[in-house]
């Protein structure tokens, strides 16, 4: 029986939503049917609207799935991760623990940042260039866009000029903008599954219908994509998130041919293509397509710093026109100081040098992580993705391994671990062994400490 308070300042549908959510987490199994909307409305003397709102929220957050003419059922896809979250995520009032080891796969080590150069350039630009009284250009400062365009043309084969670049606060800002610009034209959005779940969430919030499309050893399955209604597809072709596969050229060409035929749009997220340790990075899809149907996304978060919050997108001419028509009077969300400092950093050649340094350093960290995994975990796990980015992916060589148990044990030992499914919204079962946030010499001891809890879960 849920306790609802009609006099509370929290609306009834939210009270109900919370109560059902807690009930699901505590008492339901995957596939269990929820009581009908009518039944709950009668039982608690609520309007049908109130109950519908509560169910809609549970649905939107993935707790339940709806089956046509049948009702709501506890979702398979999301249940595991929510259960895990419930047990391990501290509440917002809790004081965060000091962790001994954090395997966060998108972290860099603070000492790897070129602080001295950055400080010098910041002081220079705020003294000589920045107008603190002005708003930034909506598309981003021209000098920075020119630097990025030159870099992308030479290093990633992207066909672009400064005119086609929009500076953003990173991934979310870029995706929100695309979702808005294209929503009058398209209504169906496809993405890799498993894939980066925030992409889906953003397009869902703008009312797009979401089509998950499977991934095999060559990335997104084109035939499966063709069966959907999707005119927009979000992909990570250089280094598929989270499986790590790279899409070969033949499939890239198939994808482009299909999307050109249906006048659709490919969103190419090239988030960490700079960090390939054993292969030459495959040139961008955008370059292959000539820039007509691809929106290209990049970021400075993976190789320079996630703290500075700068990313960018390259858009085709016709999307740029839409942008100017609707958003010409908007201001960029990225501070002028950061933009001009970064522009100077690139202009003086520091970015290219820093990239080479980070590639060498992260390759060493990658190899140290691999060696430590082999040494300390031995045959209990298999490495299923390696060679790029800031993490390796491992899976246990055992059926029925309890990820939940592993997380609880790790938490107790002050070790933070990251399951691939947490940010991919699927049942993709693997562990992301991030190495970017460690010093090179810390990696072995971190994995050794982790091995202790790993084997406790493994042998349980």
């Amino acid at each position: 029986m849920y306790v609802l308070d009609a006099k509370s300042k929290t609306p009834l549908h939210i009270q109900l939503y919370k109560a059902i959510k807690e009930d699901i987490i505590a008492n339901y199994k995957v596939g269990d049917k929820l009581p009908s909307i009518r039944k709950v409305a009668t039982l608690y003397n609520l309007s049908k609207n109130t109950v519908e709102s509560a169910y809609a929220q549970l649905y939107a957050e993935g707790y339940v799935q709806s089956r046509a003419k049948s009702g709501y059922y506890v979702s398979e896809l999301f249940f595991d991760s929510f259960r895990v979250e419930k047990e391990t995520v501290p509440t917002s009032n809790a004081i965060p623990k000091a962790y001994r080891y954090d395997f966060f796969p998108a972290q860099l080590h603070r000492e790897d940042f070129p602080l001295k150069t950055w400080k010098r350039l910041y002081t220079k630009v705020v003294t000589d260039e920045v107008d603190f009284g002005a708003y930034p250009d909506g598309q981003g400062e021209l000098v920075l866009r020119e630097q990025i365009a030159a870099y992308l043309r030479s290093s990633r084969g992207v066909v672009c000029s400064a005119e086609h670049i929009i500076i953003t606060n990173g991934f979310i800002g870029a995706m929100e903008l695309i979702a808005k610009l294209l929503k009058e034209r398209y209504s169906d959005f496809a993405q890799e599954m498993p894939g980066y779940h925030i992409a889906r969430k953003i397009f869902d919030a703008y009312g797009y219908t979401i089509h998950p499309v499977g991934v095999d050893a060559q990335g997104l399955k084109i035939e499966e994509l063709k069966k959907t209604q999707a005119h927009i597809v979000y992909i990570t072709p250089s280094h598929q998130y989270p499986t790590g596969v790279a899409m070969p050229i033949a499939r890239r060409q198939q994808l482009i041919a299909h999307m050109q035929r249906i006048s659709g749009v490919i969103i190419e997220d090239d988030y960490d293509s700079e960090l390939a340790y054993y292969t030459r990075p495959i040139p961008s899809l955008q370059g292959l397509d000539g820039g007509s149907c691809v929106v290209y996304l990049g970021t400075f978060a993976k190789a320079l710093s996630p703290a500075v919050r700068v990313g960018y997108m390259v858009v085709p001419e016709w999307i740029h026109t839409l942008y100017k028509e609707s958003y010409d009077s908007h201001f960029s969300g990225v501070s002028i100081t950061t933009q001009l400092t970064l522009a100077a950093f690139m202009q003086e050649g520091h970015w290219e040098r820093h990239l080479r340094r980070m590639r060498t350093l992260n390759k060493k960290k990658h190899n140290a992580m691999k060696e430590a995994i082999v040494t300390h975990l031995g045959n209990s796990c298999k490495i299923i993705a390696e060679g790029g980015g800031l993490s390796l992916l491992i899976v246990p060589t055992k059926e029925g391994f309890s990820w939940q148990k592993l997380q609880v044990l790790a938490e107790q030992e002050g070790i933070v671990i990251y399951l691939a499914k947490e940010r991919s919204g699927t049942a993709f079962e693997a562990l992301r062994m991030g190495f970017g946030g460690f010093r090179l010499e810390e990696i072995d001891e971190a994995v050794r400490a982790f091995a202790k809890v790993w084997f406790m879960a493994y042998l349980a």
Copy 2:
């Protein structure tokens, strides 16, 4: 006859949309009816869907209005401003002109920024505190939230703690987040008309139905609001945008009573309440309500710098809960460096001192602008809003004054002027005489130069 190219990379519906738009601007009058969708489809051998997409875009951008069972008509609301834009806005490829005088009402003068202190604090925090390898906290860095909470409690009577504050890149970031958080619960959004048109645009993009509500000498008309279905209302009670009126306490209480009764949400945008020159600022609506149904928005753009891109919102507990449930794993779009520098700036007392200085300085600029208007424009205009913010509002004392002519003439003389309707999306006819971007001693000569084109338009 429109020329459409089926082989172009630009989709047909976009080609059509552009062609019709140009046609409207060049050849249509307000109220003219567009040909029916069926007719255009037949004429150009296009699918009905293609034509519908083109019309939907014209509708979304405000070029046309639809009347039930009748068709599409050229819109009254937007036509004037679009016509003006067409003639005066440079295309994106054009080289921007160097303007002699810019009356932009949201600009500050670069010399008014506390650069020396800011540089010192930046250097300190990036050396000692910032982890360039980490992502920022999604809600914003705790130290900054604590500083903002303390400031809002003491200066604006806002009921809050750091827990309820979310740091954003400014207005757009804040409004997007609210639109997303509330969209499962509410579907109808009201705002002042005239009012800040970007607010409406953001909620429109998330599928809300928009209800414009009139404004009188006490601000938003509550009785008119009550007649709408709106459960969310966006207002600027301290200094209504763009009319400049302040909402008195009695109406504030009526508004709160109504929104509490319907379990709705008030979005209080307190964008420049710090800059009141002749009255004590009225305490926030949020404080009056006790923080139960008000989302409070503030910014550092109007008194510190629009270039640093930092704003914040204060949300009620139940909205904070929704936020944590959906966005706990997101990262803030504001760089850690900016956040920590600003926190140190506030912590050392510079913010309060700077505010006092800016209030004094801007009061002088405000008075200089007023005096220059009286001196140089005399009886040809009337000041309809003054006493706060970064601009005064004037209207001509003559019927049939051509704003369009004024803009063309000003452009020719290298003077940038800002009509109130440009960012308020209505026929509200007034000119915003911004003074924040000038040095105090420049104001008289700027208005003198402006007077020349003003009288040319006035006497035409």
